[in-house]
């Protein structure tokens, strides 16, 4: 089974009285345990595609399936529920809730899922260990480096064991060594847990980790190739 499947997605944005193409007939299947990079010039539709796959935004037409279930026609509340259970997100920046510590940020999603407190603490601790942040559990985001913050975001994304993690330019705000560390972490999680990753990026280094590289232009997929890592 696929973790995500999209069929003929189309989306146009209105900018004033101009139509801007976001997606122009995108069909895509992401296999389980995949490690996919989306690359494109700026404005070609990577973010729009990730948002559609993650149920953050609705396409104008086409279908999206996550873990075999159609999601593009779900209500707002059901979508939120679906995201909570199935999808981990890592964004470019401002990922964390500033008033919560690393630990609390990771616990937050489990709290929303209704995981009981002792279990939350245990799993959050494990996830933070997994991303290499043991000892920083009680720091707030403002007292952490950009790389550390992204790691907290990763811990939060994987803590409820989603089938898929969607990352939109996760390294864009990091220096190259932090970026490398983060990608190594993604690769390891993909390896050990079998979590699927779909990463939008402009960064060649990031692409070098991908098992599959998809190139987009003007809202279309123009190239889709497997690559050795």
């Amino acid at each position: 089974m696929n973790s995500v499947r999209c069929a003929d997605l189309r989306k146009t944005y209105k900018q004033g009285d101009q139509d801007v193409i976001g997606l122009d007939g995108v069909s895509l299947e992401v296999e389980q345990e995949g490690f996919v990079c989306l690359r494109s010039p700026s404005g070609a539709g990577k973010t729009t595609l990730l948002n559609a796959m993650g149920g953050l935004d609705r396409p104008d037409s086409g279908e999206v399936y996550v873990a075999g279930k159609r999601i593009d026609n779900l209500s707002k509340g059901k979508l939120a529920e679906m995201r909570l259970r199935n999808i981990g997100f890592v964004f470019q920046a401002y990922n964390l809730i500033p008033v919560l510590t690393a630990m609390e940020n990771v616990e937050f999603v489990m709290h929303l899922q209704g995981v009981p407190a002792p279990e939350r603490a245990k799993r959050a601790g494990e996830a933070l260990n997994e991303v290499g942040l043991e000892g920083l559990e009680n720091r707030r985001p403002a007292k952490m480096s950009g790389g550390q913050q992204q790691r907290v975001a990763v811990a939060r994304a994987i803590v409820s064991r989603p089938a898929i993690v969607l990352a939109d330019e996760p390294t864009a705000n990091l220096d190259s060594s932090s970026a490398r560390h983060l990608m190594a972490l993604f690769a390891r999680i993909n390896e050990t847990r079998g979590t699927t990753f779909v990463i939008a990026t402009h960064d060649e280094m990031v692409m070098s980790y991908a098992k599959r590289l998809i190139r987009m232009r003007d809202g279309k997929i123009v190239e889709d190739q497997l690559q050795e890592t």
Binding site: N51, G54, L56, D57, K76, G77, A80, E81, M82, R83, L84, R85, F89, F91, Y94, N95, L96, I97, P98, V99, L100, E104, E107, F108, V109, H111, L112, R156
Partner: protein
Amino acid sequence: MSITLRLAWRNLWRQPRRTWLTAGAMVFSNVLLIFLIALQLGTYQAMIDNTLGAFSGHLQVQRSGYKENQRIRQVVPRIRDVAEELRSGLGLNSVAARGEAFALASSASRTYGIRIIGVEPEFEPRASRIPSLVNAGRFLDDPVAPEIVVGEILALNLKAQVGDELTILGSARDGSFAAAVVNIVGVFDSGLDELDRSLAQMPLEFFQETFAMNGAGHAVVINAPGLFEVESVAEKANSLLPRGQNLVVHDWNDLQPGLRQAIQADLIGSWFMYGILVILVMFSVLNTQLMSVLERTKEFGIVLSLGLSSGRLGRLVLLETVLIGLIGLALGVALGGIATSWFETHGFTYPGMEEMAQQFNVPDRFYPDLNAISLFAGPVVVFAGSVLAAIYPMARLHWLRPVQAMRSA
């Protein structure tokens, strides 16, 4: 502590100054409301006590119909016995029998129409304040003596003073002439012009003799221990009245209908002012909460993406307001309570109030009345208003989509 509560609480202190300003506005209006409402209640209490305490009392037992048409034949028979039974039955000393008549009073040089009250010298001082307001001479002390005390203005008008004689001329209960010569033994100053101009008091038994009352009188005045006890005392008094004589118990609202109306009119005016104060606080809350929601749009986009429902996010924002509101409530009640209770013991006055007090027969010091109502009514409304004001910022979140929120700069 639940994570939502923790989150809400910490969010407040991201902008401590703003939070304190908002809470400060609540505290300020709460203190003001507590003080003003307590002062208002205290003033009403004083107004009622003053007006009623001077003469009319909280309750009066009369023949039914006498209040509307004060004819001398509408009597309470054996009135001193009725008063005595009420005193023992109610366990109250502040019960006094009276007779009332209109008559002409002539001094050596002038004649005026006056209202003569026959009073029990022993009990009248416990039922009204006029006996204690005698400022020249003394009050009556002999139940049968031909003596009289008169109001200050009346004495001036009659050009009479303590030691002078007055001739009283009127019609008695049986229609015959009533005439007496009495000695002025005292002059009182009640501060109420209406009383000082026309009222005079003489011993009840002498009054009964003069006006052929045959042991009857017109009213038994009862003062309850406090305003709140008036109703229960009235009920009890009613049950103690002799049957078959058509007697009724009037409460102070029957006796002084203007008083309650004046209070109600004043209440409406002040509710209006309090309403404006609460609305100002509501706008300040609306403003800060709207600001705090707008500047966190990006952050909200993230948590919405994670799967927090917008309803839950809204509740978080509401909880933040509830927390500020609780700070405002607690500090407001504490500070307002302390400040007001200080004035409750020391009284409150301002320049110029003494003159006004003399003119309008109000005390020259106001004593706020701090009780559950004056302490909590204002703060609870401010709290409710603040929470209400946070509903709009909260509702806006309902339409927030994660993508558009995250794209906002």
